[in-house]
């Protein structure tokens, strides 16, 4: 291995991870104080329980045998005082709280993304967005998201959603996928993307994932040469075909230029022909190092495996 500074062994990191997992076993129990029951709340707030009926926050009638219970006071703090002196000021409403206070309440039952997101560059954390910026409780849908389509995320990410209206795009606006199909809010190792960008893409596009005998290094996020799929593709949408960031030859040339010999020997390859006319195995090849079309000889040359001067299967 080449020498690099820092903590380099997965074994050492793994031991560290194990130690932290062990800490869970000794974490502290938080005491609960006595609170009014649901019936007391519903005497004044009649009908509010109906808005929870079809959601995961449906009120329970006391605790079950596991001790599981959902009541009004699970989310609304300060109820004991509020019962004595009913006022909008002395009851806790997570939707009106600051982010930190809101997280405290939601994390009583859920492991909020903010708590899990101690890794990476999750921009939502730094922007002081709280649970209720995206999630509703009363009258919310199944996933409790205020809405689960791209239009909802697009309220903040206007320019991103406009990308999905371009010539080629992932089918978001038609409802076939949603933002969370690719973006993992549960604390992946990469910012908002499940383990490694390319692995995430491969969950649907396995046919392009490799490993290949001859890799196109640009597409491998594991290698020193690669940025993964996004090196060439614009995943939301693109004015070019197949989500490419630039028209195809221009894209190839941005890293490769026009390699020596191509312009002279082929009377202007790069303008008369596109790179992928010959190098069509752009994701990787099991046939040849040049990522050339194994049928190239049949296509342009004088028979299978041979293209005039070149043995394609080298």
């Amino acid at each position: 291995m080449a020498k690099t500074p820092g903590f380099r062994s997965p074994a050492i990191a793994g031991i560290g991870a194990l130690l932290i997992m062990v800490l869970i076993l000794v974490s502290v129990v938080v005491a609960q104080e006595s609170q009014p029951d649901n019936e007391t709340c519903l005497m004044c707030h009649e009908g509010l329980d109906a808005s929870l009926m079809a959601t995961t926050h449906r009120l329970t009638k006391g605790a079950d045998k596991h001790g599981f219970q959902i009541s009004c006071v699970s989310c609304h703090t300060g109820a004991a005082v509020h019962v004595e002196d009913p006022s909008a000021e002395n009851i806790g409403n997570p939707a009106r709280m600051t982010t930190v206070d809101q997280n405290e309440i939601c994390s009583g039952c859920h492991q909020p993304h903010k708590e899990q997101g101690t890794l990476g560059f999750d921009p939502h954390i730094g922007q002081d967005l709280g649970c209720t910026d995206c999630h509703g409780v009363h009258d919310a849908g199944v996933s409790l998201l205020l809405d689960d389509d791209g239009e909802f995320c697009g309220q903040c990410h206007v320019a991103v959603v406009s990308g999905f209206r371009q010539r080629s795009n992932h089918p978001l606006t038609s409802g076939n996928i949603s933002c969370v199909s690719c973006h993992d809010f549960s604390g992946g190792t990469e910012p908002l993307v499940g383990h490694g960008g390319s692995t995430n893409c491969a969950s649907c596009h396995q046919e392009l994932a490799g490993p290949f005998r001859f890799e196109h290094e640009a597409g491998s996020s594991f290698s020193t040469e690669g940025d993964g799929c996004v090196a060439c593709h614009s995943p939301h949408g693109s004015p070019n075909e197949r989500l490419l960031t630039q028209p195809v030859s221009s894209l190839c040339q941005s890293c490769h230029g026009t390699p020596a010999g191509h312009m002279v020997a082929h009377s202007g390859i790069g303008s008369a022909y596109a790179c992928v006319d010959c190098h069509n195995a752009v994701h990787g090849s099991n046939d040849n190092r040049g990522l050339l079309d194994p049928q190239l000889g049949t296509k342009f040359g004088d028979g299978p495996g041979s293209c005039y001067c070149h043995n394609v299967l080298d």
């Binding site: 997965p10 932290i20 800490l23 869970i24 596991h66 890794l119 990476g120 206007v158 190792t189 490799g210």
Partner: protein, 514 residues
């Protein structure tokens, strides 16, 4: 066909159940789609999944039992080939099951005869055998088949036919704010065109997060993952081991510090050495409650094999301020430099910078946002750069007396330069919808989308939508939607001007609200 029959029967059974039970919500929709299209069907992506014919949908279906059990479902276009369906049964704190089915296509040829269709079916089950324990597992199957056309040679057909299954099982242990999760996930990919592509993957992942006892403001996060991708019919395996550690510390009065460390080591069969990816990230922030906040971050990344080593140094600064209760500003700047420390890589050193800013005005009528960003990437060693600027604005407003409006506009300008030439692009994207309030039991809507790509491209596409809905009996509505689509690629690279498309679509729906 058999599957459509099953789905229709299931939907009918649900509808029949609703008719006698009475304790439910949902919209049942029966309709018909008329489609009149002309031109290259591969050009206009929004119409790939429009089909002429009958439509049956059951949307936002909910049924609840007294014991807390909840059944929910969304069945969109069950009779169409762009089905999108979910069915679930849950009981909070006990468990649940979810079934999903999704099917859509991507058209490649002028006449629409060459296309690929992706079909995904999956199910997940989870139970809580004890209060702090959740056990989960699932299975999914994805199938894609059809014919693609070569990107630049419309005469060349590439067959696609593969299926991919995955399965997962795991357990989650939670206690107060602590959580430990272990999951095993495997997948199997089988390709009917080229069996050399057949591939199995497996992933074992364990992750945990916990506050430190007695120091609840200090939250620790850790995990480990082993990933293996193996080509079934040849000796080629990629193995990656990843471990991560993280900590977040809330200091009183709005101060936060976060640190993350990730190490990943990947090796392929035949590789002499492994490739390491090591990332260190530290963030510090201060929030003034409901007034504003600032954040500073630094990321150091090493990507290294025995031949090459690349170091990245990245910085980010961001902040937000509520100037008034209605007006908020956000802005940020990020920069990252990649330097080749040892060896040489094709793309050499790289500099990336990004600015962004946003202003938001929110009042009782709605919200108006203005947003801008600039990204620049430079690889001086190979004379390549990408310079991209984008501005966007959106408005969402509701006037109780008249109706609602949602509109957005995005402008982008990009210049991509390399030693052989420059590609430039300027693009405008408009989108908007207006809906009236319900008046005399009727409601109307109007909207459209316009996309214009200029400079080295010359593409124009637009769609116009008009809708009307009328409630003719209590809880029964008739809805008519007309939409027109148009696409033109004026640059005419092929020279035979085949890159145009136009369509008129009329949808008529009868909706019954339960």
């Amino acid at each position: 066909m058999k599957r459509i029959l099953w789905i229709s029967l299931l939907t009918t059974a649900l509808l029949a159940g609703m008719a006698v039970a009475g304790d439910f919500r949902g919209d049942a929709k029966v309709g018909y789609v008329y489609l009149d299209q002309e031109g290259n069907q591969a050009m206009n992506q929004p119409t790939y999944n429009l089909y002429e014919g009958g439509v049956l949908s059951l949307e936002n279906f909910r049924y609840t039992w007294d014991n807390g059990l909840r059944l929910f479902g969304d069945f969109d276009n069950v009779t169409m080939n762009n089905r999108n369906m979910v069915l679930g049964l849950q009981k909070s704190g006990h468990g649940g099951a979810t079934l999903r089915h999704n099917k859509y296509r991507r058209v490649y040829s002028f006449d629409g005869e060459r296309y690929t269709r992706r079909e995904q079916t999956s199910g997940q089950v989870w139970v809580h055998p004890m209060k702090h324990v959740k056990v989960f597992g699932g299975y999914g199957l994805t199938r894609k088949a059809g014919q693609m056309l070569d990107l630049l040679d419309p005469e060349s057909i590439n067959e696609v036919d593969y299926s991919q299954s995955y399965y997962n099982a795991g357990a989650e242990f939670t206690y107060n704010r602590s959580r430990l999760e272990v999951e095993y996930r495997g997948s199997s990919y089988g390709d009917d065109i080229d069996e050399l592509r057949d591939r199995d993957t497996r992933r074992l992942r364990a992750s945990a997060v916990t506050p430190v006892p007695r120091y609840e403001n200090l939250l620790l996060n850790a995990g480990f993952q082993n990933y293996q991708g193996k080509m079934v019919n040849r000796d080629d395996t990629l193995t990656a081991n990843t471990a991560w550690l993280g900590a977040r510390w809330f200091y009183g009065d709005g101060y936060t510090v976060r640190y993350s460390f990730v190490i990943d080591r990947a090796r392929r069969t035949g590789d002499v050495v492994a490739t390491d990816n090591v990332v260190n990230v530290i963030y510090a922030g201060k929030t003034w409650r409901q007034k504003g906040g600032v954040q500073v971050g630094y990321r150091y990344r090493v990507n290294d094999d025995v031949f090459d080593e690349i170091n990245d140094n990245g910085y980010v600064f961001s902040g937000w301020i509520n100037a008034t209760p209605m007006l908020q500003f956000r802005a940020g700047f990020g920069s990252e430099t990649s330097e080749v420390q040892e060896g040489s890589t094709l793309t050499g050193d790289q500099d990336r910078t990004r600015f962004w800013g946003q202003a938001r005005y929110r009042c009782s009528y709605g919200t108006l946002r203005l947003k801008g960003e600039s990204r620049k990437t430079e690889n001086d060693d190979i004379g390549t750069s990408a310079d991209f600027v984008r501005f966007g604005t959106d408005l969402a407003a509701t006037v109780e007396k008249y109706g609602s409006l949602v509109a957005s506009y995005s402008y982008s300008d990009g210049e991509y330069e390399n030693t052989d030439g420059t590609f430039t692009l300027r693009q405008h994207v408009f989108n908007g919808d207006v809906y009236s309030i319900e008046y005399m039991k009727a409601q109307i809507g109007f909207g459209g989308t316009y996309v214009r790509s200029q400079q080295d491209l010359d593409i124009e596409s637009f769609s116009v939508r008009m809708s009307a809905m009328y409630e003719f009996m209590p809880k029964n509505k008739i809805e008519v939607i007309y939409s027109a689509h148009n696409f033109d690629d004026f640059s005419d690279v092929v020279g035979t001007y085949t890159e145009y498309y136009t369509a008129n679509v009329v949808e008529v729906n009868l909706i019954h609200e339960f």
